[in-house]
Subunit: 246 residues, 2 copies
DNA sequence: CGAGGGTTTGAAGTGCATCAAATAGTGTGG
DNA sequence: CCACACTATTTGATGCACTTCAAACCCTCG
């Protein structure tokens, strides 16, 4: 086993969806896995395409989206390290329900989705974890829809920043936008211009400091008061945690 | 076994999620089930409340929603006969992730969610079906989010009507809105006034006929051209089918 | 330093929300 | 079967939020 293979196995083992899986299965998965480098803007697969493999992000950011004939696109999600995607094709006649594209130089590991099917059959705990992960995801999507319905642009941005912020620390909180503002805008369902203006408004209303992609604030309460007022969940949104399985 | 019990068992057996379950399990489920009548506007449960039972709609319409402190609400779904809800609480620490309320005189069957947990463990096929159902639902939610992003009010209404229309027949197509226009509006994320005006616009743009809750059209192509132009899925949306499990 | 993408700013337009009021529709009791 | 009460729906007028198109600015990286 090469160094890279070991690395892959380690990555796979660390994924929370596979927490209950036996080593033999994980080894098998790792054997069948492939690492793939993606250039910026490289498309990995498009929706309706036949699906044989699912993916785990190893490095970079992968945009999950769908687009209309005229090229307008709706961003479903933007994923980074240890996020899984493409696996829901198992349940959709082996067809990817969305497209995936690297937003920057990225690296993904792919594995055959057939193996997942097997593991669902063999390991009830795995099936349960996968269901739990799906349910969490549904909750997240519900929340996103809710946000689009009742929050305005500035509040959605505020919420996005809050979810990036580490809860723990006391003093100043510093948050770095993980990717282009244009990309954040598309994920939040607004135009780049709107994002820029709405962020400006958020700054004047909550006293946060913005310098490039870095946002600094004394404490989170101003921001949470501002954004979470127009949301059915209360601040730390502790009920929903992201990560794993899309 | 009384007549009502038989009726319940029949309903449960007919649910597609339970297609792979043994009769013994279904009997057990039916034994533990309860029928509940709900008045219009009666709340069945609210989000964050502890969940012991999941539900199947037997009659009427149940609104699934979340609301903010100031009472603004986001409608997640509106369910009717044979739709399941509340069952995702299994995966969320036995807490309902949304509220449920009858929009009219309704009837629901409730069953202990603990039994579902057991069945997931015992029956891999059931787990798989449930996963498939969840995946389908996720796809639906993605589509809804996409609609909010790239379709305008009239197009969303058109899409809603198309999904109600029977594909088969040739001659005129007649669609009846299944519930109040106000409720349709809230499901589509718009105000009642906007709904009314947007429906008027849809009428003038596509030549449909509207009389109360009844919509008539010569064929669906005008409508699908109008609405589906701003969507990543092509007309019959055949890839996604509703029903079962929320 | 200069090219190119990302970001901001400006000006104008559009779509939806909001508030207010009129109208249509439904169910009730007389 | 009609009149009343109440709710659902429509219509009008106005305002605001976001989009669009255009142009400037800024930052980074070769």
């Amino acid at each position: 086993m090469g160094a890279q293979d070991k690395e892959i196995l380690k990555t796979i083992k660390s994924l929370s969806v596979f927490a209950s899986s036996q080593v033999t299965f994980l080894d098998h998965l790792a054997q069948q896995s492939q690492v793939q480098k993606l250039q910026k803007a490289q498309v990995l697969f498009i929706n309706e395409q036949e699906a044989e493999r699912f993916y785990v992000v190893k490095k970079g950011w992968i945009k999950i989206f769908r687009e209309t004939l005229d090229g307008t696109q709706a961003v479903v999600d933007i994923l980074n390290e240890d996020s899984i995607f493409g696996e829901t094709a198992i349940f959709q006649d082996d067809i990817y329900p969305y497209s995936a594209e690297a937003t920057e130089l990225s690296e993904v590991i792919s594995m055959p989705i057939a193996l997942l099917k097997q593991e669902i059959d063999d390991n009830p705990k795995f099936a349960f974890d996968m269901l739990a992960s799906m349910a969490r995801f549904r909750r997240l999507q519900d929340q996103e829809l809710e946000h689009r319905t009742i929050q305005n642009a500035s509040q959605r941005i505020g919420c996005f920043i809050l979810r990036l912020a580490d809860q723990g620390s006391d003093g100043k909180t510093v948050v770095n936008l993980p990717y282009d503002k244009t990309l954040v805008a598309s994920l939040l369902g607004m135009q780049p211009e709107t994002f820029s203006r709405a962020l400006g408004k958020l700054k004047s209303e909550t006293g946060i400091t913005i310098k490039g992609a870095t946002i600094t604030m004394d404490d989170l309460s101003n921001l949470s008061n501002y954004s979470c007022a127009a949301c059915s969940s209360e601040f730390p949104c502790k009920d929903i945690q992201k990560k794993s399985v899309i």
